[in-house]
Protein backbone atom coordinates (compact mmCIF):
# COMPACT_ATOMS: atom_id res chain seq x y z
CA UNK A 1 0.00 0.00 0.00
CA UNK A 2 1.19 3.47 -0.82
CA UNK A 3 2.13 5.69 2.05
CA UNK A 4 -0.52 8.30 2.53
CA UNK A 5 0.34 11.94 2.91
CA UNK A 6 -0.55 13.31 6.31
CA UNK A 7 -4.04 14.66 5.85
CA UNK A 8 -6.27 15.58 8.75
CA UNK A 9 -9.33 15.05 6.67
CA UNK A 10 -8.40 11.50 5.74
CA UNK A 11 -7.37 10.70 9.27
CA UNK A 12 -10.67 11.97 10.57
CA UNK A 13 -12.55 10.23 7.77
CA UNK A 14 -10.90 6.89 8.49
CA UNK A 15 -11.54 7.28 12.16
CA UNK A 16 -15.17 8.26 11.59
CA UNK A 17 -15.82 5.22 9.46
CA UNK A 18 -14.32 2.85 11.95
CA UNK A 19 -15.92 4.52 14.95
CA UNK A 20 -18.66 2.86 16.90
CA UNK A 21 -22.07 4.52 17.07
CA UNK A 22 -21.32 5.56 20.63
CA UNK A 23 -18.07 7.21 19.65
CA UNK A 24 -19.81 8.99 16.82
CA UNK A 25 -22.59 10.10 19.11
CA UNK A 26 -20.17 11.50 21.63
CA UNK A 27 -18.21 13.35 18.99
CA UNK A 28 -21.37 14.81 17.51
CA UNK A 29 -22.61 15.92 20.89
CA UNK A 30 -19.32 17.52 21.82
CA UNK A 31 -19.00 19.37 18.54
CA UNK A 32 -22.56 20.62 18.64
CA UNK A 33 -22.27 21.56 22.30
CA UNK A 34 -19.12 23.51 21.50
CA UNK A 35 -21.01 25.56 18.96
CA UNK A 36 -23.83 26.20 21.39
CA UNK A 37 -21.29 27.30 23.96
CA UNK A 38 -19.56 29.80 21.68
CA UNK A 39 -21.34 32.90 23.04
CA UNK A 40 -19.90 32.15 26.48
CA UNK A 41 -16.38 32.26 25.18
CA UNK A 42 -14.51 35.29 26.22
CA UNK A 43 -11.30 34.93 24.39
CA UNK A 44 -9.33 37.91 23.15
CA UNK A 45 -7.99 35.85 20.27
CA UNK A 46 -11.35 35.19 18.70
CA UNK A 47 -13.15 38.29 19.94
CA UNK A 48 -13.90 40.96 17.38
CA UNK A 49 -12.44 44.30 18.37
CA UNK A 50 -14.94 46.92 17.29
CA UNK A 51 -18.14 44.92 17.25
CA UNK A 52 -19.74 42.70 19.82
CA UNK A 53 -18.61 39.14 19.27
CA UNK A 54 -21.92 37.78 20.53
CA UNK A 55 -23.75 39.92 18.04
CA UNK A 56 -21.36 38.98 15.24
CA UNK A 57 -21.96 35.31 16.02
CA UNK A 58 -25.57 35.83 15.02
CA UNK A 59 -25.07 38.22 12.14
CA UNK A 60 -23.14 37.66 10.02
CA UNK A 61 -21.65 34.33 11.14
CA UNK A 62 -24.45 31.87 11.72
CA UNK A 63 -26.90 33.64 9.45
CA UNK A 64 -24.36 33.64 6.63
CA UNK A 65 -23.78 29.96 7.31
CA UNK A 66 -27.50 29.26 7.09
CA UNK A 67 -27.85 31.18 3.84
CA UNK A 68 -24.70 29.65 2.42
CA UNK A 69 -26.00 26.15 3.13
CA UNK A 70 -29.21 27.11 1.35
CA UNK A 71 -27.43 28.63 -1.62
CA UNK A 72 -25.12 25.64 -1.73
CA UNK A 73 -28.06 23.44 -2.69
CA UNK A 74 -28.56 25.69 -5.70
CA UNK A 75 -25.00 26.55 -6.70
CA UNK A 76 -22.86 23.83 -5.21
CA UNK A 77 -25.09 20.80 -5.57
CA UNK A 78 -26.96 21.55 -8.77
CA UNK A 79 -24.56 23.95 -10.44
CA UNK A 80 -27.13 26.72 -10.98
CA UNK A 81 -25.41 30.10 -10.78
CA UNK A 82 -27.75 32.24 -8.69
CA UNK A 83 -26.74 35.89 -8.26
CA UNK A 84 -30.03 36.98 -6.72
CA UNK A 85 -30.18 34.96 -3.55
CA UNK A 86 -30.76 38.11 -1.51
CA UNK A 87 -34.28 38.25 -2.97
CA UNK A 88 -35.37 35.25 -0.91
CA UNK A 89 -33.76 36.72 2.17
CA UNK A 90 -35.66 39.96 1.57
CA UNK A 91 -38.94 38.12 0.99
CA UNK A 92 -38.54 36.29 4.29
CA UNK A 93 -37.70 39.49 6.15
CA UNK A 94 -40.62 41.38 4.65
CA UNK A 95 -43.01 38.51 5.27
CA UNK A 96 -42.26 38.60 8.96
CA UNK A 97 -42.34 42.39 9.11
CA UNK A 98 -45.63 42.76 7.25
CA UNK A 99 -47.47 39.78 8.68
CA UNK A 100 -46.61 40.58 12.26
CA UNK A 101 -47.99 44.07 11.75
CA UNK A 102 -51.13 43.05 9.85
CA UNK A 103 -52.06 39.78 11.49
CA UNK A 104 -52.10 38.49 15.03
CA UNK A 105 -49.70 35.68 14.21
CA UNK A 106 -46.47 35.47 16.15
CA UNK A 107 -43.00 34.85 14.81
CA UNK A 108 -43.22 31.08 15.01
CA UNK A 109 -46.48 31.00 13.16
CA UNK A 110 -45.15 33.35 10.50
CA UNK A 111 -41.99 31.31 9.87
CA UNK A 112 -43.76 28.79 7.60
CA UNK A 113 -45.26 31.66 5.63
CA UNK A 114 -41.86 33.33 5.26
CA UNK A 115 -40.47 30.10 3.89
CA UNK A 116 -43.59 29.49 1.83
CA UNK A 117 -43.55 32.87 0.12
CA UNK A 118 -39.86 32.50 -0.62
CA UNK A 119 -40.57 29.09 -2.12
CA UNK A 120 -43.40 30.52 -4.17
CA UNK A 121 -41.09 33.23 -5.46
CA UNK A 122 -38.57 30.55 -6.32
CA UNK A 123 -41.22 28.69 -8.26
CA UNK A 124 -42.44 31.77 -10.12
CA UNK A 125 -38.92 32.80 -11.08
CA UNK A 126 -37.66 29.28 -11.59
CA UNK A 127 -40.29 28.05 -13.98
CA UNK A 128 -39.25 30.35 -16.82
CA UNK A 129 -35.66 31.02 -15.78
CA UNK A 130 -34.46 27.50 -15.12
CA UNK A 131 -34.93 26.59 -18.74
CA UNK A 132 -31.89 28.76 -19.34
CA UNK A 133 -28.35 27.86 -18.50
CA UNK A 134 -25.17 29.17 -17.03
CA UNK A 135 -24.55 32.85 -17.41
CA UNK A 136 -27.93 33.58 -18.92
CA UNK A 137 -29.49 32.23 -15.78
CA UNK A 138 -27.03 34.24 -13.69
CA UNK A 139 -28.14 37.54 -15.17
CA UNK A 140 -31.82 36.69 -14.75
CA UNK A 141 -31.36 35.84 -11.10
CA UNK A 142 -29.30 38.98 -10.61
CA UNK A 143 -32.17 40.94 -12.10
CA UNK A 144 -34.65 39.21 -9.84
CA UNK A 145 -32.68 40.28 -6.77
CA UNK A 146 -32.70 43.88 -7.92
CA UNK A 147 -36.38 43.77 -8.88
CA UNK A 148 -37.46 42.65 -5.43
CA UNK A 149 -35.51 45.53 -3.90
CA UNK A 150 -36.89 48.10 -6.34
CA UNK A 151 -40.42 46.90 -5.77
CA UNK A 152 -39.90 47.20 -2.01
CA UNK A 153 -38.62 50.77 -2.41
CA UNK A 154 -41.58 51.78 -4.52
CA UNK A 155 -44.37 50.08 -2.62
CA UNK A 156 -45.63 52.44 0.05
CA UNK A 157 -47.84 49.71 1.52
CA UNK A 158 -44.73 47.97 2.83
CA UNK A 159 -43.03 51.14 3.96
CA UNK A 160 -41.32 52.20 0.76
CA UNK A 161 -37.72 53.28 1.10
CA UNK A 162 -37.99 53.85 4.85
CA UNK A 163 -38.92 50.22 5.28
CA UNK A 164 -40.73 48.83 8.28
CA UNK A 165 -39.97 49.61 11.88
CA UNK A 166 -41.23 48.18 15.15
CA UNK A 167 -41.01 44.59 14.00
CA UNK A 168 -41.67 42.32 16.96
CA UNK A 169 -39.19 39.69 18.02
CA UNK A 170 -40.05 36.05 18.53
CA UNK A 171 -42.28 35.23 21.49
CA UNK A 172 -40.51 33.29 24.26
CA UNK A 173 -40.05 29.62 23.61
CA UNK A 174 -38.69 26.92 25.96
CA UNK A 175 -37.96 29.65 28.44
CA UNK A 176 -35.79 31.65 26.06
CA UNK A 177 -36.59 35.32 25.91
CA UNK A 178 -35.75 37.04 22.67
CA UNK A 179 -34.78 40.50 23.73
CA UNK A 180 -33.15 42.84 21.31
CA UNK A 181 -30.43 43.32 23.89
CA UNK A 182 -29.23 39.77 23.94
CA UNK A 183 -28.20 38.29 20.62
CA UNK A 184 -27.48 34.88 22.10
CA UNK A 185 -30.98 33.34 21.88
CA UNK A 186 -31.07 34.37 18.23
CA UNK A 187 -27.74 32.71 17.72
CA UNK A 188 -28.95 29.53 19.37
CA UNK A 189 -32.20 29.60 17.42
CA UNK A 190 -30.40 30.04 14.11
CA UNK A 191 -27.85 27.41 15.03
CA UNK A 192 -30.64 24.97 15.81
CA UNK A 193 -32.33 25.68 12.50
CA UNK A 194 -28.99 25.42 10.75
CA UNK A 195 -28.46 21.97 12.21
CA UNK A 196 -31.94 20.96 11.08
CA UNK A 197 -31.30 22.27 7.59
CA UNK A 198 -27.94 20.51 7.43
CA UNK A 199 -29.65 17.31 8.50
CA UNK A 200 -32.26 17.69 5.78
CA UNK A 201 -29.77 18.61 3.08
CA UNK A 202 -27.45 15.74 3.96
CA UNK A 203 -30.37 13.36 3.92
CA UNK A 204 -31.38 14.51 0.46
CA UNK A 205 -27.79 14.49 -0.73
CA UNK A 206 -27.35 10.83 0.03
CA UNK A 207 -30.47 9.79 -1.81
CA UNK A 208 -32.10 10.12 -5.17
CA UNK A 209 -32.45 13.93 -5.14
CA UNK A 210 -28.79 14.37 -4.25
CA UNK A 211 -27.72 12.13 -7.11
CA UNK A 212 -30.06 13.93 -9.48
CA UNK A 213 -28.60 17.32 -8.50
CA UNK A 214 -25.05 16.11 -8.85
CA UNK A 215 -25.82 14.61 -12.23
CA UNK A 216 -27.35 17.91 -13.37
CA UNK A 217 -24.28 19.76 -12.18
CA UNK A 218 -21.95 17.38 -13.94
CA UNK A 219 -23.79 17.28 -17.26
CA UNK A 220 -27.33 18.49 -17.59
CA UNK A 221 -27.97 16.97 -21.02
CA UNK A 222 -26.73 13.56 -20.01
CA UNK A 223 -28.74 13.70 -16.79
CA UNK A 224 -31.83 14.29 -18.88
CA UNK A 225 -30.93 11.36 -21.17
CA UNK A 226 -30.59 9.18 -18.08
CA UNK A 227 -34.15 9.83 -17.09
CA UNK A 228 -33.52 12.61 -14.56
CA UNK A 229 -36.35 15.15 -14.60
CA UNK A 230 -33.85 17.99 -14.72
CA UNK A 231 -36.27 20.89 -14.67
CA UNK A 232 -38.11 19.44 -11.70
CA UNK A 233 -34.96 18.88 -9.69
CA UNK A 234 -33.53 22.27 -10.58
CA UNK A 235 -36.80 23.80 -9.44
CA UNK A 236 -36.63 21.83 -6.22
CA UNK A 237 -33.08 23.02 -5.62
CA UNK A 238 -34.18 26.57 -6.26
CA UNK A 239 -37.19 26.24 -4.00
CA UNK A 240 -35.27 24.63 -1.17
CA UNK A 241 -32.57 27.27 -1.43
CA UNK A 242 -35.28 29.90 -1.44
CA UNK A 243 -36.97 28.46 1.62
CA UNK A 244 -33.74 28.55 3.59
CA UNK A 245 -33.14 32.13 2.42
CA UNK A 246 -36.64 33.10 3.49
CA UNK A 247 -36.10 31.47 6.87
CA UNK A 248 -32.89 33.42 7.37
CA UNK A 249 -34.62 36.64 6.34
CA UNK A 250 -37.45 36.21 8.84
CA UNK A 251 -35.00 35.58 11.69
CA UNK A 252 -32.92 38.57 10.64
CA UNK A 253 -35.94 40.88 10.60
CA UNK A 254 -37.07 39.63 14.00
CA UNK A 255 -33.66 40.45 15.40
CA UNK A 256 -32.92 43.87 13.97
CA UNK A 257 -36.53 45.00 14.38
CA UNK A 258 -36.45 47.44 11.49
CA UNK A 259 -35.71 46.73 7.85
CA UNK A 260 -35.09 48.92 4.84
CA UNK A 261 -34.82 47.88 1.19
CA UNK A 262 -31.24 49.15 1.11
CA UNK A 263 -30.23 46.26 3.36
CA UNK A 264 -30.96 43.83 0.52
CA UNK A 265 -28.51 44.73 -2.21
CA UNK A 266 -26.61 42.69 -4.75
CA UNK A 267 -23.62 42.83 -2.43
CA UNK A 268 -25.26 40.42 -0.03
CA UNK A 269 -25.97 37.93 -2.82
CA UNK A 270 -22.36 38.13 -3.87
CA UNK A 271 -21.15 37.77 -0.32
CA UNK A 272 -23.13 34.56 0.19
CA UNK A 273 -22.02 33.22 -3.16
CA UNK A 274 -18.45 34.00 -2.15
CA UNK A 275 -18.96 32.02 1.08
CA UNK A 276 -20.07 29.03 -0.96
CA UNK A 277 -17.21 29.12 -3.44
CA UNK A 278 -14.56 30.23 -0.96
CA UNK A 279 -15.38 27.41 1.41
CA UNK A 280 -15.72 24.71 -1.21
CA UNK A 281 -18.71 24.41 -3.47
CA UNK A 282 -20.87 21.38 -2.90
CA UNK A 283 -19.31 20.46 0.43
CA UNK A 284 -21.64 21.52 3.18
CA UNK A 285 -18.85 21.70 5.80
CA UNK A 286 -16.64 23.68 3.49
CA UNK A 287 -19.46 26.07 2.76
CA UNK A 288 -20.05 26.65 6.45
CA UNK A 289 -16.36 27.23 6.99
CA UNK A 290 -16.42 29.74 4.14
CA UNK A 291 -19.40 31.56 5.64
CA UNK A 292 -17.82 31.70 9.06
CA UNK A 293 -14.54 33.04 7.70
CA UNK A 294 -16.01 35.56 5.29
CA UNK A 295 -18.40 36.77 7.97
CA UNK A 296 -15.74 36.89 10.63
CA UNK A 297 -12.71 38.32 8.85
CA UNK A 298 -14.22 41.73 7.98
CA UNK A 299 -15.38 42.12 11.57
CA UNK A 300 -11.98 41.12 12.88
CA UNK A 301 -10.38 43.58 10.49
CA UNK A 302 -12.63 46.44 11.52
CA UNK A 303 -9.75 48.10 13.35
CA UNK A 304 -8.20 48.65 9.93
CA UNK A 305 -11.22 50.83 9.14
CA UNK A 306 -10.84 51.98 5.52
CA UNK A 307 -8.35 49.33 4.64
CA UNK A 308 -10.35 46.34 5.75
CA UNK A 309 -12.22 45.75 2.48
CA UNK A 310 -8.98 46.22 0.57
CA UNK A 311 -7.43 43.40 2.57
CA UNK A 312 -10.57 41.38 2.30
CA UNK A 313 -10.62 41.66 -1.50
CA UNK A 314 -6.95 40.79 -1.69
CA UNK A 315 -7.49 37.80 0.53
CA UNK A 316 -10.23 36.51 -1.74
CA UNK A 317 -7.99 36.72 -4.80
CA UNK A 318 -5.04 35.11 -3.03
CA UNK A 319 -7.10 32.34 -1.46
CA UNK A 320 -8.80 31.44 -4.70
CA UNK A 321 -5.43 31.27 -6.39
CA UNK A 322 -3.99 29.05 -3.69
CA UNK A 323 -7.05 26.84 -3.35
CA UNK A 324 -9.12 27.21 -6.50
CA UNK A 325 -11.74 24.76 -5.32
CA UNK A 326 -12.16 26.42 -1.98
CA UNK A 327 -10.80 25.69 1.45
CA UNK A 328 -12.55 22.35 1.83
CA UNK A 329 -13.50 21.23 -1.65
CA UNK A 330 -16.12 18.68 -2.41
CA UNK A 331 -14.34 15.39 -2.42
CA UNK A 332 -15.64 11.90 -2.32
CA UNK A 333 -13.65 9.53 -0.24
CA UNK A 334 -12.78 6.81 -2.68
CA UNK A 335 -12.56 3.27 -1.54
CA UNK A 336 -10.39 0.78 -3.29
CA UNK A 337 -11.18 -2.88 -3.36
CA UNK A 338 -8.78 -5.45 -4.57
CA UNK A 339 -10.32 -7.39 -7.38
CA UNK A 340 -10.97 -10.99 -6.47
CA UNK A 341 -10.04 -12.94 -9.53
Amino acid sequence: MKAKAFNLRDIFGDWWESATPIQRGITRTVVIATFYALPFLNNPVIDTPETSFKSVLFYPLVLFALMAVGLNVVVGKSGILDLGYVAFFAIGAYTHAVMSARTSLNFWEILPFAMGFAMLAGLILGLPALRLRGDYLAIITLGFGEIIRIIAINTEAIGGAAGITDIPGPTPIFGFEFSVMDPRPYYWLTLTLLILVIWGVLRLSHRKPGRAWEAIREDEDVAEFMGVATLKYKLWAFIIGGAVGGLAGAIYASKIRSIQPELFTLNLSIMILACVVFGGMGNIWGVILGAVLLGYIPEKLRFLSDYRIIFFGLLMVVMMNIRPNGLMPRKKREKFQEKIS
Binding site: R211, E214, E218, F225
Partner: protein, 258 residues
Protein backbone atom coordinates in the same frame (compact mmCIF):
# COMPACT_ATOMS: atom_id res chain seq x y z
CA UNK B 1 -44.11 -11.32 -36.68
CA UNK B 2 -41.37 -9.83 -34.51
CA UNK B 3 -42.16 -6.81 -32.47
CA UNK B 4 -40.54 -3.52 -33.51
CA UNK B 5 -39.31 -1.91 -30.30
CA UNK B 6 -37.99 1.21 -31.98
CA UNK B 7 -39.27 2.51 -35.23
CA UNK B 8 -38.28 5.63 -37.12
CA UNK B 9 -40.60 6.67 -39.90
CA UNK B 10 -39.80 9.09 -42.75
CA UNK B 11 -37.58 11.22 -40.56
CA UNK B 12 -36.55 14.62 -41.96
CA UNK B 13 -34.17 16.80 -39.98
CA UNK B 14 -32.76 20.17 -41.00
CA UNK B 15 -30.19 22.38 -39.34
CA UNK B 16 -30.36 25.94 -40.58
CA UNK B 17 -31.40 24.92 -44.08
CA UNK B 18 -29.02 21.98 -44.33
CA UNK B 19 -30.81 18.66 -44.50
CA UNK B 20 -29.18 16.34 -41.99
CA UNK B 21 -31.56 13.43 -42.40
CA UNK B 22 -33.85 12.91 -45.35
CA UNK B 23 -36.79 10.51 -45.21
CA UNK B 24 -34.98 7.97 -43.09
CA UNK B 25 -36.74 4.81 -42.01
CA UNK B 26 -35.19 2.55 -39.40
CA UNK B 27 -36.32 0.01 -36.89
CA UNK B 28 -35.00 -2.25 -34.17
CA UNK B 29 -36.65 -5.58 -33.57
CA UNK B 30 -37.07 -7.31 -30.28
CA UNK B 31 -33.99 -9.25 -29.29
CA UNK B 32 -31.70 -8.15 -32.11
CA UNK B 33 -28.56 -6.16 -32.48
CA UNK B 34 -29.08 -3.60 -35.20
CA UNK B 35 -26.18 -1.53 -36.45
CA UNK B 36 -26.13 1.87 -38.03
CA UNK B 37 -23.06 2.67 -40.07
CA UNK B 38 -21.96 5.35 -42.43
CA UNK B 39 -19.13 7.80 -43.04
CA UNK B 40 -18.46 10.65 -40.63
CA UNK B 41 -21.14 13.29 -40.86
CA UNK B 42 -23.67 10.91 -42.35
CA UNK B 43 -26.14 11.72 -39.57
CA UNK B 44 -25.80 8.68 -37.31
CA UNK B 45 -25.51 10.55 -34.02
CA UNK B 46 -28.29 12.85 -35.20
CA UNK B 47 -30.54 9.79 -35.31
CA UNK B 48 -29.72 9.13 -31.66
CA UNK B 49 -30.34 12.76 -30.75
CA UNK B 50 -33.71 12.66 -32.47
CA UNK B 51 -34.98 9.46 -30.95
CA UNK B 52 -33.86 10.49 -27.46
CA UNK B 53 -35.73 13.75 -27.87
CA UNK B 54 -32.82 16.19 -27.96
CA UNK B 55 -33.67 17.57 -31.40
CA UNK B 56 -37.03 17.91 -33.03
CA UNK B 57 -37.43 16.59 -36.57
CA UNK B 58 -39.07 18.62 -39.31
CA UNK B 59 -41.32 15.70 -40.12
CA UNK B 60 -41.56 12.00 -39.52
CA UNK B 61 -42.25 10.01 -36.41
CA UNK B 62 -40.42 8.03 -33.75
CA UNK B 63 -42.17 5.11 -32.07
CA UNK B 64 -40.94 3.32 -28.98
CA UNK B 65 -42.74 0.03 -28.58
CA UNK B 66 -45.52 1.35 -30.79
CA UNK B 67 -45.99 4.69 -29.02
CA UNK B 68 -44.94 7.97 -30.58
CA UNK B 69 -42.39 9.81 -28.45
CA UNK B 70 -42.24 12.90 -30.61
CA UNK B 71 -42.31 16.10 -28.58
CA UNK B 72 -41.65 14.35 -25.28
CA UNK B 73 -38.88 15.64 -23.03
CA UNK B 74 -35.73 13.43 -23.20
CA UNK B 75 -36.08 12.19 -19.64
CA UNK B 76 -39.55 10.83 -20.35
CA UNK B 77 -38.33 9.08 -23.48
CA UNK B 78 -35.50 7.61 -21.45
CA UNK B 79 -37.98 6.29 -18.92
CA UNK B 80 -40.09 4.82 -21.71
CA UNK B 81 -37.18 2.61 -22.58
CA UNK B 82 -34.29 4.19 -24.42
CA UNK B 83 -30.85 4.18 -22.83
CA UNK B 84 -27.88 5.63 -24.65
CA UNK B 85 -24.13 6.10 -24.51
CA UNK B 86 -22.07 8.85 -26.07
CA UNK B 87 -19.45 9.12 -28.73
CA UNK B 88 -17.23 11.15 -26.38
CA UNK B 89 -17.61 9.58 -22.97
CA UNK B 90 -19.92 11.69 -20.84
CA UNK B 91 -19.99 10.26 -17.38
CA UNK B 92 -20.79 12.21 -14.22
CA UNK B 93 -17.10 12.59 -13.46
CA UNK B 94 -17.30 13.66 -9.84
CA UNK B 95 -19.66 10.87 -8.87
CA UNK B 96 -18.65 7.32 -8.05
CA UNK B 97 -19.22 4.52 -10.50
CA UNK B 98 -22.01 3.19 -8.33
CA UNK B 99 -23.69 6.58 -8.14
CA UNK B 100 -23.47 7.01 -11.88
CA UNK B 101 -25.46 3.86 -12.41
CA UNK B 102 -27.80 4.50 -9.49
CA UNK B 103 -28.72 7.91 -10.91
CA UNK B 104 -30.14 6.25 -13.98
CA UNK B 105 -31.75 3.51 -11.93
CA UNK B 106 -33.50 6.24 -9.88
CA UNK B 107 -35.41 7.29 -12.96
CA UNK B 108 -37.65 4.28 -12.68
CA UNK B 109 -38.52 5.02 -9.04
CA UNK B 110 -41.65 6.92 -8.31
CA UNK B 111 -40.82 8.33 -4.90
CA UNK B 112 -39.96 12.00 -4.90
CA UNK B 113 -38.02 14.52 -2.94
CA UNK B 114 -40.35 14.94 -0.02
CA UNK B 115 -40.51 11.25 0.75
CA UNK B 116 -36.72 11.15 0.61
CA UNK B 117 -36.56 14.03 3.08
CA UNK B 118 -38.97 12.54 5.53
CA UNK B 119 -37.65 9.02 5.08
CA UNK B 120 -40.91 7.40 4.08
CA UNK B 121 -40.91 3.67 3.58
CA UNK B 122 -41.40 3.93 -0.15
CA UNK B 123 -38.34 6.07 -0.56
CA UNK B 124 -36.31 3.64 1.49
CA UNK B 125 -37.45 0.73 -0.65
CA UNK B 126 -36.66 2.69 -3.80
CA UNK B 127 -33.24 3.60 -2.49
CA UNK B 128 -32.54 -0.07 -1.85
CA UNK B 129 -33.75 -1.01 -5.32
CA UNK B 130 -31.55 1.60 -7.03
CA UNK B 131 -28.51 0.53 -5.11
CA UNK B 132 -29.09 -3.15 -5.77
CA UNK B 133 -29.72 -2.54 -9.46
CA UNK B 134 -26.56 -0.48 -9.70
CA UNK B 135 -24.51 -3.03 -7.82
CA UNK B 136 -25.69 -5.93 -9.95
CA UNK B 137 -25.10 -4.00 -13.17
CA UNK B 138 -21.57 -3.21 -12.08
CA UNK B 139 -21.06 -6.90 -11.43
CA UNK B 140 -22.53 -7.66 -14.83
CA UNK B 141 -19.98 -5.49 -16.65
CA UNK B 142 -17.22 -6.50 -14.29
CA UNK B 143 -16.72 -3.19 -12.53
CA UNK B 144 -17.95 -4.04 -9.05
CA UNK B 145 -14.46 -3.69 -7.64
CA UNK B 146 -14.44 -0.06 -8.73
CA UNK B 147 -17.87 0.82 -7.41
CA UNK B 148 -16.63 3.48 -5.03
CA UNK B 149 -14.15 5.16 -7.29
CA UNK B 150 -14.93 8.40 -8.99
CA UNK B 151 -15.90 7.98 -12.60
CA UNK B 152 -13.30 10.44 -13.82
CA UNK B 153 -10.54 8.40 -12.18
CA UNK B 154 -11.44 5.17 -13.97
CA UNK B 155 -9.33 3.86 -16.84
CA UNK B 156 -10.64 4.64 -20.30
CA UNK B 157 -12.05 1.22 -21.05
CA UNK B 158 -13.83 1.04 -17.74
CA UNK B 159 -15.39 4.42 -18.42
CA UNK B 160 -16.81 3.13 -21.70
CA UNK B 161 -18.27 0.09 -20.01
CA UNK B 162 -19.60 2.16 -17.12
CA UNK B 163 -21.56 4.24 -19.63
CA UNK B 164 -23.16 1.04 -20.89
CA UNK B 165 -24.04 -0.04 -17.35
CA UNK B 166 -25.56 3.37 -16.68
CA UNK B 167 -27.72 3.12 -19.79
CA UNK B 168 -28.79 -0.39 -18.82
CA UNK B 169 -29.95 0.90 -15.43
CA UNK B 170 -32.87 2.47 -17.25
CA UNK B 171 -33.93 -1.07 -18.09
CA UNK B 172 -34.23 0.06 -21.70
CA UNK B 173 -36.24 -1.61 -24.40
CA UNK B 174 -33.52 -0.55 -26.80
CA UNK B 175 -29.96 0.24 -25.85
CA UNK B 176 -28.36 2.87 -28.08
CA UNK B 177 -24.58 2.56 -28.28
CA UNK B 178 -22.68 5.39 -29.95
CA UNK B 179 -19.27 4.11 -31.08
CA UNK B 180 -18.63 2.01 -27.97
CA UNK B 181 -15.37 0.61 -29.37
CA UNK B 182 -13.74 3.95 -30.13
CA UNK B 183 -10.23 4.00 -28.75
CA UNK B 184 -10.16 0.29 -27.91
CA UNK B 185 -7.38 -2.10 -28.83
CA UNK B 186 -8.28 -5.32 -30.69
CA UNK B 187 -8.41 -7.40 -27.51
CA UNK B 188 -10.78 -4.92 -25.86
CA UNK B 189 -12.93 -4.86 -28.96
CA UNK B 190 -13.38 -8.60 -28.75
CA UNK B 191 -14.39 -8.30 -25.10
CA UNK B 192 -16.79 -5.52 -25.96
CA UNK B 193 -18.36 -7.64 -28.68
CA UNK B 194 -18.92 -10.40 -26.15
CA UNK B 195 -20.43 -7.94 -23.71
CA UNK B 196 -22.87 -6.63 -26.31
CA UNK B 197 -23.88 -10.16 -27.18
CA UNK B 198 -24.35 -10.89 -23.49
CA UNK B 199 -26.56 -7.82 -23.24
CA UNK B 200 -28.64 -9.04 -26.15
CA UNK B 201 -28.92 -12.42 -24.53
CA UNK B 202 -30.25 -10.77 -21.40
CA UNK B 203 -33.14 -9.62 -23.56
CA UNK B 204 -32.21 -6.08 -24.53
CA UNK B 205 -32.42 -4.96 -28.13
CA UNK B 206 -29.38 -2.93 -29.23
CA UNK B 207 -28.89 -0.21 -31.80
CA UNK B 208 -25.21 0.22 -32.47
CA UNK B 209 -23.30 2.99 -34.20
CA UNK B 210 -19.81 1.81 -34.90
CA UNK B 211 -16.95 2.42 -37.26
CA UNK B 212 -15.16 -0.81 -36.59
CA UNK B 213 -16.43 -3.00 -39.38
CA UNK B 214 -15.13 -6.30 -38.09
CA UNK B 215 -17.00 -5.77 -34.83
CA UNK B 216 -20.16 -4.68 -36.60
CA UNK B 217 -20.08 -7.56 -39.02
CA UNK B 218 -19.43 -10.04 -36.25
CA UNK B 219 -22.21 -9.17 -33.84
CA UNK B 220 -24.94 -7.41 -35.79
CA UNK B 221 -28.08 -9.13 -36.89
CA UNK B 222 -29.03 -6.35 -39.27
CA UNK B 223 -27.18 -3.32 -40.62
CA UNK B 224 -28.47 -0.02 -41.98
CA UNK B 225 -26.20 2.32 -43.89
CA UNK B 226 -26.51 6.08 -43.88
CA UNK B 227 -24.82 8.39 -46.32
CA UNK B 228 -25.42 12.14 -46.52
CA UNK B 229 -28.56 11.80 -44.46
CA UNK B 230 -30.05 9.10 -46.67
CA UNK B 231 -30.45 5.45 -45.92
CA UNK B 232 -28.72 3.74 -48.82
CA UNK B 233 -28.90 0.11 -47.76
CA UNK B 234 -30.22 -2.29 -45.18
CA UNK B 235 -29.67 -5.99 -44.66
CA UNK B 236 -27.73 -8.73 -42.95
CA UNK B 237 -23.97 -8.28 -42.60
CA UNK B 238 -23.28 -10.53 -45.56
CA UNK B 239 -25.77 -8.64 -47.73
CA UNK B 240 -24.26 -5.32 -46.79
CA UNK B 241 -20.75 -6.54 -47.51
CA UNK B 242 -21.83 -7.43 -51.00
CA UNK B 243 -23.88 -4.30 -51.65
CA UNK B 244 -22.16 -2.37 -54.42
CA UNK B 245 -23.69 0.96 -53.43
CA UNK B 246 -22.38 0.66 -49.88
CA UNK B 247 -18.95 -0.32 -51.11
CA UNK B 248 -18.86 2.65 -53.44
CA UNK B 249 -20.20 5.19 -51.02
CA UNK B 250 -18.68 4.04 -47.84
CA UNK B 251 -16.49 1.07 -47.30
CA UNK B 252 -13.64 2.15 -49.46
CA UNK B 253 -13.52 5.55 -47.81
CA UNK B 254 -14.14 4.70 -44.19
CA UNK B 255 -11.86 1.72 -43.77
CA UNK B 256 -9.17 4.01 -42.40
CA UNK B 257 -11.46 5.20 -39.64
CA UNK B 258 -11.24 1.98 -37.70
Amino acid sequence: MTKKLLEIQNLVVKFGGVTALNEVNLHVNEGEIAALIGPNGAGKTTVFNIVTGYYKPVSGDVLVDGNSVLGLRPYLIARMGLGRTFQNIRLFGDMTALENVATAADALNKSGLLSALFGLGRSRRDEKRSMETAQSLLEFIGLDHRAHQMAKNLPYGDQRRLEIARALALNPKVLLLDEPAAGFNPQEKVELGDLILKIRDKGYAVLLIEHDMSLVMKISDRISVLDFGQKIAEGTPSEIQKNQRVIDAYLGVAEDAS
